[in-house]
Amino acid sequence: MSSSQRIRRQPGLLVLEDGRSFCGTSFGAQGSAFGEAVFSTGMTGYQETLTDPSYRRQIVVMTAPHIGNTGMNDDDAESRQIWVSGFVVRDLSRIASNWRSQRELADDLADVGVVGVADIDTRALTRHLRDRGAMRAGVFGGSDAAAPLEELVAAVKASPSMVGADLAGEVTTPQSYTVAAQGQPRFRVAAVDLGIKAMTPEMMAARGIEVVVVPSSVTSAELAALEIDGLFLSNGPGDPATADRTVELARWALESRLPLFGICFGNQILGRALGFGTYKLPFGHRGINQPVMDLTTRKVEVTSQNHGFAVDAPIGESVETDFGRARVSHVGLNDNVVEGIECLDRPAFSVQYHPEAAAGPHDSAYLFDRFFSLLEANRSVTSGGSR
């Protein structure tokens, strides 16, 4: 590759549904891709971001300027594949430099056909999304970027919206699989894969929990047949308002007093099961520096977050629900968004952020301990002994 080719790459273009466009260069796959444009503020963890199923059908804009520095490896992926529909960075690294690096980022994106755009003013784009809200966008690489802008805007406008999107079915595991507990298995938990990240069952397994990851289509009868001690509802993409089937699973667990833990999408599901509404945030929370206060201890955690929707529940009071009292347990300090809810009369709680933290800080790992305690307490209540 001659130096001038390295500096002047193929054109790449990002087009927003409101008509604003950003010209840059193309990397990864060429062609066109559509999705909701969102920005993520994490300075580390692009591999985890790319492989997080919650980013399904989203075009992710990284605010950190240099991406690709540490390459890609076989250990850090959060699922079996890259899910983002498009990837937008300011400066793509020309080489990977890290002792664990196995491949270059651009090659991995090209292999799975993800269109990347580099060398655009990502800060201007982020400010635009912050002020106007997340919106549909298209990324175009190579000859696709040469089409007239009006055509591209029309194509973006014709692409599906995130509101009302049911995407869990697109990302869930086709078959159940089990993540073995480390050491002596103490409990068995079913994790409903709505877009689960690999670190989540890892965190439970590390605490002696055997995790059966089940497809999102699982029924309560199938769950009951698994002889589980608890139910876990994972993170995942899409609008929680469409997840009626999963909400029913949550109600079933609450009904049967099965310990329940939810993360992210799972938090929205528990919220809906308790009768709270959900709504779309203007531009979401995506980053690994989000402060959350645990209202019980008043301590602050720096958390990893990736959500465009949130639960609508009153902060600072407990609410009567179909399943007894419930209250908001965690709140985001930046904007007072509900970041966690707990049932006071049922063994159930959930958080909107990511205690499994991949990528992100490990401040909230205690929540897995809390779930473990819930499983323990519940066992002594229900059976008074071990399995």
Binding site: R8, N98, R100, G287, N289, V300, D335
Partner: protein, 1118 residues
């Protein structure tokens, strides 16, 4: 939970004089702390011996003590002020050590004063290497065991050799409890070990050194961590050192955020960092933790931690917009992170971790040219004197901006004519040893064809950074080879940080022959202009309300429009010897007063250590290099935003002054003294005419552009002569030349120093009294700020000389002559604002040595001593105010000035602080080239006590009050020494001397023990040499004036040993007399303390009384 209500008064300890390893970053942090505490309604008591700081401005504390930072003095302050608490974590190692001493001495208990910010146990756990390693060993994160480097603690040299057997060479030697890693080094063999560990054992207050496995060449990182009393912990910033382990982080090129770690690796480092701050027990505040990572295996080692704010935390604050010191002060008084709002977003709390959408690069600035005989290898002992920071939207842009910000000609990347001329092998072997210019060697080698692998092999710099430099090289080639400079190539080049100067140089073969200015014009035509982004802590997730900007070549600019007229203030860039904190002080004052006067103040500077680059100081901050291109771009952006009525160039020292003419030529309204007037003062011929017109004498002189011309002038005016290149600051390249041989030798070196300019040859006035004047001039009236008398004779650079205010031997008639001369110069040049003039008084004649139409180094000292802010007044005069208006509005006193200070008023002494301990092997003689890094002030009723205080503040040992004084004088000084030495003997000192000196003393009835000279070795009966006696601790003070001329003259050995052992060493006769006066005061009784506020009010009372007496005398008939 709100703040504690049991703390009503806090004593803040500052960091003392600027020294290598402890610079103005602690003025920045201390100033923030004072501001925060006062906003909370807490009474602030401050002690700091450094008058050049903003924090010691009387308005920043309720009681400001410019006094030595010693337990004795601090106890007196505590006894007077009775504070509830002491805050020591914002004044560097000096303050922390003072706190520990106060605690050990039982003073804190005695007065019931609480230590806040960090407990003694935590300070010790963080700083005692053994304890710290034990703590690290207890850190287990889900099965991951944190590690320190394998090491051995030693208290004797025998221990050291035993330890070496275990660890193997090479190994790191680190003395405990020294500042900035002083005295540490890498031992490659037993000889190194003996040398470094021997000195280290002596330097460590606990006689302790640590030997450590070598992690040389590993990747090095730092985390800035903060914790509140609820145990909430945040990591404010990660910093990666481009220079691998082996170079002190203060001497490394560093980048924020870390760029070569995956999330897993970063989070593991974060986990360990959080556990470290918890287990060390820093309950409320910040700390800095350093890590090393093996680039091949990822093995991570915790190197060390500082349980206080640091240079890195100042950098991190500027890099992220998260004000660590300010938050630390709030945490110390009981707030929690979630209760403190983020200043920049206003809406979100400080309990979060900033995220950056830009890259920050810091480049250190060295001063090796001032210490030519010292080892210039970069090691684990810090040697840089300052730093510049730059922000860009990528690494290449930030790096190139930072390199031009350090203002060193060779720092920016350059490309020679042909690749084949470059000796790659030579470069590869040179870059194996870290030095100031290593990155340039790397760049050149890569450009000439060395591979990234080869270069990485040679210098261990991470391949990622090497590839970025390769990218810069590729663009350079493309710029050079492009048929023409089109939009595309210009965009790419500017996006990666190329300056117009670099582009012009690369296009030197272009038939259009564009200079940098023409390139800028071309860019403007083609629309390739910078935009300004905002440092907002959150990567644009939330709206920022604080206009803290940096330039980049992107699409969208964020500079907001404004209505109020703006004034741009150009700062002074990185600290260096001759241009330091004093200039930042003046810039900050301009910002404060012009904001008050209704202007929108806009600061442009690139020094992360300063108060001026605090986003709170001005209405807008541009963190930009101080080059013509970068400043013009800011000016253009601000003109687009609203009216700009002036640009102030005369407060930031030579850096902005040097830009004045260029800016004015491009239509910028340079206010204050005009560039043409600056030229009149700086160009020797023009200045000579000004003096001639005013009929003021200057030492005979001439301008020489060859050796022949120089010797001809010297013969005419008579040796010795003072020679120097024109247009220099800090006496760069200035030397006293005694004969023709020295002239030849000097010219060879000086021509290198400044090829464009000829050399000035001045008659050197022997035994003259040097007088330093700071004054204001508004075009018709002069305000004499101060007349300072130097302790050392003329010939010692004013920056290195101690001085007294008011003058100690000048009569009022002489002061009035100074006033008249100063006024004539001010008017002749056309000064509008500050003017500094240096005079030499010899044989009853007042010679003018030089005049600088700008803020000088002494402005802050004068302001503290006289209670008048000259810098504020200068800024107002620049904007059109007159002195009489300023007297009316209270900016200046209603009557009198620095020339009419009342009799009986206090004496202020400024003493310079020299970095010789860092540059062992350099002769400590004072000369015309400035070498001091900082200054202290002693203030008291009489000169002796004030001088003694200044000595205690400047040198930890201060002046002795008993013991043995070694005296060795040059023949010409022997007559003047008799009286003071006799006095010392009368005061009970034992005198030791060289045979020649002893003989003279004996004739005057002073009995002196003879000591053998160094080259003689010990005598037949074991009679010691002077050096041996010093090393045995038998000498309390050394008086040694140099013999004759030449480089390493006799006495050199004695002076360097004195520096190494910290023995007071006096090298001038005048210094000796002052010291004797000081010693007399120390023996006469206890030293008192007095706050500046008290001082100012005493002074005002005296002045009023003097004025009343004068009026009465006038009123009453004679």
């Amino acid at each position: 939970m709100p703040r504690r209500d049991d703390i009503k008064s806090v004593l803040v300890i500052g960091s003392g004089p600027i020294v290598i390893g402890q610079a103005c970053e602690f003025d920045y942090s201390g100033t923030q702390a004072c501001r925060v505490l006062r906003e909370e309604g807490i009474r602030v008591v401050l002690v700091n011996s450094n008058p050049a700081t903003i924090m010691t401005d009387p308005e920043f504390a309720d009681a400001t003590y410019v006094e030595p930072i010693t337990p004795e003095i601090i106890e007196k302050i505590i006894a007077t002020e009775r504070p509830d608490a002491v805050l020591p974590t914002l004044g560097g190692q000096t303050a922390l050590n003072a706190a520990i001493e106060l605690d050990k001495a039982g003073i804190l208990d005695k007065y019931g004063v609480e230590l806040i910010g960090a407990q003694v146990a935590a300070i010790e756990a963080g700083e005692n290497r053994e304890k710290f390693k034990e703590i690290v060993a207890t850190i287990d994160i889900h099965g991951y065991q944190a590690e320190s480097a394998r090491s051995v603690i030693c208290h004797t040299l025998q221990d050291c050799f035993a330890g070496a057997e275990e660890l193997g060479y090479p190994m790191v030697v680190r003395p405990s409890f020294t500042m900035g890693g002083a005295g540490s080094g890498m031992a490659y063999n037993p000889n190194d070990l003996e040398r470094i560990a021997g000195a280290g054992l002596a330097a460590s207050p606990t006689s302790e050194v640590l030997l450590e496995e070598s992690i040389l060449g590993w990747k090095e990182y730092e985390l800035e961590v903060m914790r509140d009393k609820h145990d909430n912990v945040v990591v404010v910033c990660s910093i990666e050192n481009v220079d691998p382990v082996g170079v002190h982080t203060g001497d490394s090129i560093t980048v924020a955020p870390a760029l070569t770690l995956t999330d897993r690796e970063f989070q593991r480092m974060r986990d360990v960092g959080i556990d470290v701050i918890r287990k060390v027990g820093v309950e409320t505040g910040g700390c800095n933790i350093q890590f090393a990572i093996d680039p091949d295996t990822g093995r991570m080692i915790v190197i060390e931690m500082n349980p206080r704010v640091s240079r890195s935390s100042a950098l991190a604050s500027k890099a992220t917009g998260f004000p660590i010191a300010k938050i630390a002060a709030k945490l110390a008084i009981g707030y929690t992170l979630d209760e403190i709002p983020n200043d920049i977003t206003k809406k979100t709390p400080a309990a979060f971790e900033p995220t950056l959408d830009y890259i920050v690069v810091k480049v250190p600035r060295f001063a090796f040219e001032k210490f030519p005989n010292t080892d210039q290898t970069l090691t684990t002992t810090m040697k840089s004197v300052g730093e510049a920071m730059a922000i860009g939207r990528n690494f290449t842009e930030a790096l190139q901006k930072a390199l031009r910000s350090v203002e060193k000609r060779s720092a920016s990347f350059a490309w020679p004519g042909s690749k084949s001329d470059v000796d790659i092998e030579d470069l590869l072997s040179r870059m194996a040893i870290p030095t100031d210019g290593r990155l340039n060697e790397v760049q050149l080698a890569l450009w000439a064809g060395a591979t990234i692998e080869q270069v990485h092999e040679a210098c261990d710099i991470d391949p990622w950074f090497l590839d970025q430099i390769e990218l810069i090289n590729e663009i350079a080639d493309e710029v050079r080879q492009a048929p023409e400079l089109d939009v595309e190539i210009l965009r790419v080049a500017k996006r990666h940080g190329f300056s117009d100067v670099q582009l012009a140089a690369l296009r030197s073969n272009d038939s259009l022959q564009r200079d940098a200015l023409a390139i800028a014009e071309l860019r403007a035509e083609l629309g390739v202009n910078p935009v300004y982004k905002t440092v907002d802590t959150c990567a644009a997730e939330f709206e920022a309300s604080t206009p803290y900007h940096y330039s980049t070549y992107d699409e969208e600019s964020e500079v907001a429009g404004r209505e109020r007229p703006a004034v741009l203030i150009l700062g002074s860039g990185p600290n260096r010897i001759g241009q330091g904190i004093e200039f930042d002080y003046s810039c900050v004052h301009a910002a404060l007063t012009l904001r008050e006067a209704g202007y929108e103040t806009v600061m442009v500077n690139c020094n992360p250590e300063t108060v001026s680059t605090d986003y709170d100081t001005s209405d807008r901050l541009y963190f930009e290099p101080l080059t013509a291109e970068d400043v013009m771009a800011v000016y253009n952006a601000e003109v687009a935003a609203g009216p700009v009525v002036g640009v102030i160039c005369q407060l930031g020292g030579q850096t902005p002054l040097g830009l004045a003419q260029t800016l004015k030529d491009q239509g910028v309204p340079v206010v204050g003294t005009s560039p043409e007037a600056i030229h009149l003062a700086e160009e020797r011929g023009a200045f000579g005419k000004v003096l001639a017109e005013a009929q003021l004498p200057a030492p005979a002189h001439g301008l020489a552009s060859s050796f022949e011309e120089a010797t001809e002038i010297a013969d005419r005016v008579g040796y010795p002569v003072l020679v120097r290149p024109s247009y220099v600051l800090g006496g760069r390249g200035m030397e006293i030349v005694y004969d023709e041989t020295m002239m030849a030798d000097y010219l060879e070196r000086a021509t290198e120093a400044s090829p464009e300019h000829p050399v000035l040859v001045d008659r050197f006035l022997d035994d003259a009294i040097e007088v330093d004047v700071d004054a204001l001039y508004d075009g018709s009236e002069l305000f004499l700020g101060a007349v300072m008398e130097h302790i050392e004779e003329a010939g010692v650079h004013s920056g290195d000389s101690a001085c007294a205010l008011p003058p100690i031997t000048l009569s009022q008639t002489e002061v009035e002559r100074v006033r008249a001369s100063t006024e004539a110069i001010a008017s002749g040049i056309g000064v509008r604002g500050l003017l500094n003039v240096q005079y030499a008084l010899a044989g009853g004649i007042l010679y003018v040595l030089e005049a600088n139409p700008r803020a000088s180094r002494t402005v802050p000292f004068v302001s503290k001593a006289t209670g008048v802010s000259l810098a504020k007044a200068a800024a107002r005069i620049a904007m059109g105010s007159t002195i009489s208006e300023l007297r009316e509005t209270g900016v200046l006193p209603t009557q009198g000035d620095g020339g009419t200070l009342p009799l009986g008023g206090p004496m202020a002494v400024k003493e310079a602080v020299l970095p010789f301990a860092r540059f062992l092997g350099v002769d400590t003689l004072l000369g015309p080239e400035m070498r001091s890094t900082g200054e202290v002030m002693g203030i008291d009723d009489d000169f002796g006590t004030a001088f003694a205080k200044s000595q205690i503040a400047a040198f930890s040992s201060g002046l002795p009050t008993s013991g043995r004084v070694f005296v060795s004088m040059a023949d010409r000084d022997k007559r003047s020494m008799v009286f003071p030495i006799k006095r010392l003997a009368d005061l009970g000192f034992e005198i030791a001397a060289t045979p020649g000196t002893a003989a003279i003393l004996a004739r005057h009835g002073v009995k002196a023990t003879e000591l053998r000279k160094h080259f003689q070795g010990a005598g037949p009966n074991g009679e010691p040499t002077t050096v041996a006696a010093m090393e045995a601790g038998e000498i309390a003070m050394v008086v040694n004036t140099p013999y004759g001329v030449g480089g390493r003259v006799d006495g050199y050995e004695i002076r360097s040993v004195a520096v190494r052992l910290g023995i007071p060493c006096i090298t001038t006769v005048q210094g000796l007399s002052a010291a004797v006066e000081g010693i007399e005061s120390l023996l006469a009784g206890e030293m008192g303390v007095r706050s500046l506020q008290q001082h100012a009010s005493d002074l005002a009372t005296l002045q009023a009384a003097q004025a009343a007496a004068l009026a009465e005398a006038r009123g009453a008939p004679a």
